[in-house]
Symmetry: C2
Subunit: 397 residues, 2 copies
Amino acid sequence: MSGEEEAAAQQQKTEEQKQDTKPEEDKQNEQQPPPAQEAEKPQNEVSYKSLVLSGYGGYDKVKLQVKKGELVPKTGEVLVRVKACGLNFADLMGRQGLYDRLPSPPVTPGMECSGIVEALGEGVTDRKIGDKVIVMNRAGLWQEVVTVLTSHTFLMPEGMTFEEAAAIPVNYITAYMMLFDFGNLRPNQSILIHMAAGGVGIAATQLCQTVKDVTIFGTSSASKHDAIKENGVTHTIDYRTMDYVDEIRKLSPKGVDIVLDPLGGSDTCKAFNLLKPMGKLIAYGAANLLTGQKKNLMALAKTWWNQFSINAMQLLQSNKAVCGYHLGYLDEEMELVGGVLSKILDLYKQGKIKPRVDSVWPFQQVGDAMRQMQERKNIGKVILVPEAEKEEKKEEN
Amino acid sequence: MSGEEEAAAQQQKTEEQKQDTKPEEDKQNEQQPPPAQEAEKPQNEVSYKSLVLSGYGGYDKVKLQVKKGELVPKTGEVLVRVKACGLNFADLMGRQGLYDRLPSPPVTPGMECSGIVEALGEGVTDRKIGDKVIVMNRAGLWQEVVTVLTSHTFLMPEGMTFEEAAAIPVNYITAYMMLFDFGNLRPNQSILIHMAAGGVGIAATQLCQTVKDVTIFGTSSASKHDAIKENGVTHTIDYRTMDYVDEIRKLSPKGVDIVLDPLGGSDTCKAFNLLKPMGKLIAYGAANLLTGQKKNLMALAKTWWNQFSINAMQLLQSNKAVCGYHLGYLDEEMELVGGVLSKILDLYKQGKIKPRVDSVWPFQQVGDAMRQMQERKNIGKVILVPEAEKEEKKEEN
């Protein structure tokens, strides 16, 4: 992401200006969008809502602010009015100081959003004002307007809502690259999808069905079993009351071909042991670290202590693959990632995938949105919108 | 391999009978094939040449013996008159006591051979006498006649020589599964193939060319560069005089998509670091352990000490895969392995692959054959044949 530094610099600039903004109370009440860029005032002078992580800790550490500043797209950039943003596990980890790809606070989080192009920087020919786009960035997208490199924007297909668009990038790219690059998923194989009702879980379940006769073991709490079954899970497992390893072995004594592991700690070791010969374990998260609002040192120590580790000799004799995936660390690979997103959007157009939006929250309720996800209440994607009222937003779409 | 135990038992039986065989000198001079099974003598009484590992150590530990015993194919088995056998790194490791899939000495090594079906066990309907077959087994195939389960035999395509047939299974299955299962090799990718003039190296280089525009970095000593280039290597690297990491970085600063690593030790760490994002390291051997005829404790310690090791967290942030492959540990997966071999034989029929035989050695020169491979003198496959003279063998084909 060559625009990363500029983005960070921009972030810095607007951060510095926030002392000038109104006191907290006023900001919370401010519901009107800032004046559009086309107004008579100096074009660069805009004010806009932004969610800012003020320091590491609990839900209250992310605050709604109104920033004022210069938001002019530079060469190769576009200005996008944001309509919906995705919430991800990395954001929850980032809030606790557990995600090193998020710049230090104060910082605006947000790795994905959707919106409308409102202004073009110099030299931009592949986007035009009014384009509906999906945007990806290392951070900074939980904001009413953003400037990003055009290479970080992707045209939304016809008929896609802004919420759907914001629900796609991180979850579907993660699932796609795990399944079809590392996983090399083929017909008649079997897979264990943990947290099958989560964003990545829903996406992975749908993508598995683009391959013939894949058997999907999916874990979630029992209350979500109907939903994940409807989404395509073959065998549902309640991880809270059952030993998922036992349940899988009962149905598939030799194990499975692929395990997607968002948990870490001892679950990664279990995953490795569950693999058939030529099986692939794909670690992509450490949700076991998230046991409460704030960083839990005991959970960290336990996860670390139980951490999966392997050497070349053990691996050689196992005929297995262990893979690590994290989209956040691919931020310099926009061409690769963009190519994957383009395939995903094709699948959407063909009706083969359909993002499931769990809930939509206005910026000022970001704490509740994070709680929804962290307490594993969601089925599908948790979405943030700049508008105060859902009704407003729906009309605009 | 459900026939494994029977095979081991059979091995044991014939081992026990070897006290009855003639003294060493006589055996060495015996050039005539044993009487055919159809002779008037009791059908079960046969005598046959066999290479036996008498204990762990140098080249002289593998001795030619003439065994006498009962060699009757059991239910589901066939008796095969062996025409050519493959020599593999695992056999060299086994001789030094470094390969735990080889039963304890005294034992006949040999994981692959080709030959002609000479008798059928009960219930065998998918093979007939006279069939030319490729045979795979955990061990025991360096022998003039062998009994194996039909599921371990594969019909040779028309026009394939016995030497070619014996050169295919281990090398091509290993290369195929690494490239197309773990490696998920796709057009425009790049790969580092160490020991590109070795059996697996030659096979992998050929298989890479079934995919469009793959860039192959191949290492070997300079004297073999013409041969590996002709075989399809894009960029040859003399590992004896050059730092292969530097050479690759010069041409491909971001590294490569796949490294096939037969070396182990510190080379595995270098391989991991050479990978691009989403790259795959596939470890499939520990040739660095083989520094001389006998087990070298210093080499073992050094390789162990420098051994690649990784934990889940490191992996997660790397966006890389580390895979271990060893065909010897897939011996219970005959269906999987047989499916792969069948695809390889199709590629042979289409003229897309062509095994390269480095040299053919009669059984009594097994020590020289092993030296040829261990001292890295070979280009392609080292083959053993039961016959004393190459000329005899060639006429028979």
